[in-house]
Amino acid sequence: MAKMVEVRAAWGDALLELTKTHPNLVVLDGDLASSTMAQTVAYSAPDFFMNMGIAEQNMMGVAAGMASVGLVPWLSTFACFLTSRALDQLRVTVAQPKLNVKLGAAYSGILTGKTGKTHIDVEDIAIMRAMPNMVVVAPADAVECRLATLALTDMSGPAYLRLTRDSTPVIFGEEYKFELGKLVVLREGKDLTIFGTGVQSVRALEACDLLAQEGISAHLVHVHTLKPLDVEGIVAAAAKTGRVLTTEDHTIIGGLGGAVAEVLSQRRPTPMRIHGLQDCFGESGPNDAMLEKYGLTAKHIAQAAKALLGKAC
């Protein structure tokens, strides 16, 4: 049984770790630190933490101004408030001038602790991918989240880190090397290629086991960096099996599926299915019920894989 850790907690711990080596780091919080886990910094390194109140538009601009003077601000709030509430400020004062602002996007995807549709963000990848100059990363587990947080802090320019709320299995060991912009093969296979992103890659890993029980060998690739995309890696992984399924805790429009389709349609047309939320918002409910209703379980991924292969479900 894999160890279970909250990705958001790993982010808070990573920020605290960074305060020891990065004197110019500052965490700006939209009064949600106890939810995003930026509170780790507030309690243990208070000099690196500033509450900006329930005023995300101002917070985004403050971060831009701080970055222009040489600080490295990490924003702490929910994905929906970064990508929707403060989108104009993000676009005009962060993305356009390429300022060194890091966006800690907590509560992404549909598993947000029964908050319901307002706080569930299933459009964020599409919005952030469409934003010029933006780096977009969705880690699969706590280990990768820590490494991504360190890597994004040390790169120059705006970056969006997609965080999830509840404990999920840790799939990477201590030896794991995170390389920004490079996809990771999680499972070798020959019958079809599955691309996953974020924590959905962990459910895809489970799906590979289900498929293996039926004699189907899936090649699973984890795309942690949604932008810039590892174009060559995607083409090679698709070529390996000639069939592609993408899966994500995000709408099927403009997310990982869109990104992979943009690459393959132009570089190597490949039969493909896009699995994710069917162009809809979320609702409140327990995690298991949410995954079941919105079709994001390992079982659903396996069914989509079999449909792609023309096999009965």
Binding site: N24, V26, M50, M52, G53, A55, Q57, N58, M59, M60, G61, V62, A63, A64, G65, M66, A67, S68, V69, G70, L71, P73, D88, Q89, R91, V92, T93, Q96, P97, K98
Partner: protein, 285 residues
Amino acid sequence: MPIDAALKRDLQAKAVQVRKMILEAVHTAGAGHVGGPLSMVEIAVALYFKMLRVDPKNPQWPDRDRFVLSKGHSCVALYATLGLKGFFPTEEVNTYDAINSRMQGHPDMTKTPGIDMASGSLGTGCSPALGMALAAKRLKKDFHTWVLLGDGEIEEGQVWEMAWVADHYRVDNLTAIVDYNKIQQFGFPKDGNIRHRVNPLTRVADKWRAFGWNVLEVDGHDFDVLVPAMEEAKATRGRPTCIVAHTVKGKGISFMEDDYNWHAKVPNQDELAKAYAELDVQRPR
């Protein structure tokens, strides 16, 4: 206390030059804003030729004072001022709005020397100014940050988010200036008369006071009161200052003054000549 007479003459002469450069650039581009740039001329001239610690030869000097033009659509006035200050050749201001120009339609800090922050979507410039002031405190730097807002612009909610956060952190190295020209693009009818339009915001000074700011109200075209207000703002400790500068939209050109039609109208050759003639009379002797 009036300012030094020689300084005042110099600032007034520069204001006339900046107004001519604004009109010429907009005329050349065949596009752009006129009324708002003309109302902020004395403010920009007082800042760049009296108040700001900047080095045109080193626009990225880390210890420079910062200026954010939050009412970004008035940037042609800033370009003219920066050109006169020596950040780039004054002739370059006439490339305003042209393709590949460094003089963009709204301020682009990645292109134009001397521009400290991107702006253009109203309200978005004020928070970066607060961020610069907070960063200066964290980095123990003594530069001062100035942000110029339009009175129409402060209808945006973000401005008031910024205002309370600045008060909360007692940010005293930040000064906001409101270019209170009382007219916006389309405006609101005054006394039911659709031909006479105004900015509906009243009690502007009271609003900033209610948010905890030190507020100074001055004539934004009179260097004798504008410069001392800027000096007082910079010296005030413990809270941010807002200078509510009463101005006239289209200031300096009789047929443009107080007329919302000149918000973004392009002067033709004849209008340009008339405007220049009026400005020549205003040049200090």
